[in-house]
Symmetry: C2
Subunit: 138 residues, 2 copies
């Protein structure tokens, strides 16, 4: 694979309740709005939502590290904006797009987002910076 | 608790191999540099490192959501810079400090970092934005 500015990777994704609970066990983040309906309804979100760090952080970490650009990736930075709450079980699209390539440092800048399957609604946006020492850069 | 600009929360933390493997199972991020010594040595890091999203993402999600400001937190944004590799089992300090409070929107901006126990070395930096609808704001 030769990586070019404009290249895009899209992957449907959803986050089940079991994954939410596994995330809470690993992170220790037992924020009640992610599993307690009474707390969730009383919060500004108003319903049970998937933890943002599970929806975005883990998904992008997985895509960047194992799929696109994949093998050889070292994470340098990630910014995330949680714009709309992500619901358990609903299907979304994880989108990663190459925005810039610095051939000398091998730093690749990518936009990272979680959107609806038809790409009309935007749930999470952000940017990632990775160094990849295996992939060929255009 | 009344939350004020300048308030700080510090918590020693370390990331064991079991937690790294649990992170990989939950995220699907089987990036070899986090468990394969040959791959890790051949990478720019040069040794096995804890996934950045585990070290920072999950730690801050946990602190913000359950400890500081804690109960009532809704995550709005997080930026992360992975400056130095975090080693498995070594002890670090997770630092969260209130940088700004907007009383009207209840948006709290916090600096988030992973540093050495003596605070001399900086491993991960970033900023978080959270809304908290329970805590009293100064």
């Amino acid at each position: 694979m030769i990586l070019r500015v404009g290249d895009e990777y899209a992957e449907p994704c959803s986050f089940g309740l079991l994954q939410v609970i596994a995330f809470m066990v690993v992170s220790g983040d037992w924020n009640k709005i992610h599993y307690d309906k009474t707390e969730a309804v009383a919060s500004p979100i108003g319903f049970i939502a998937v933890p943002g760090m599970l929806a975005a952080g883990l998904k992008f970490s997985c895509i960047l590290g194992t799929k696109f650009p994949g093998h050889g990736t070292v994470y340098r930075s990630q910014s995330l904006k949680f714009r709309k709450a992500v619901l358990p079980k609903k299907r979304y699209l994880a989108l990663v797009k190459v925005e810039d390539i610095d051939k000398e440092s091998r730093l690749i800048t990518l936009s990272t987002s979680i959107v609806s399957l038809d790409r009309e609604e935007i749930y999470i946006t952000g940017k990632a910076g990775v160094i990849n020492f295996k992939v060929e850069l255009a």
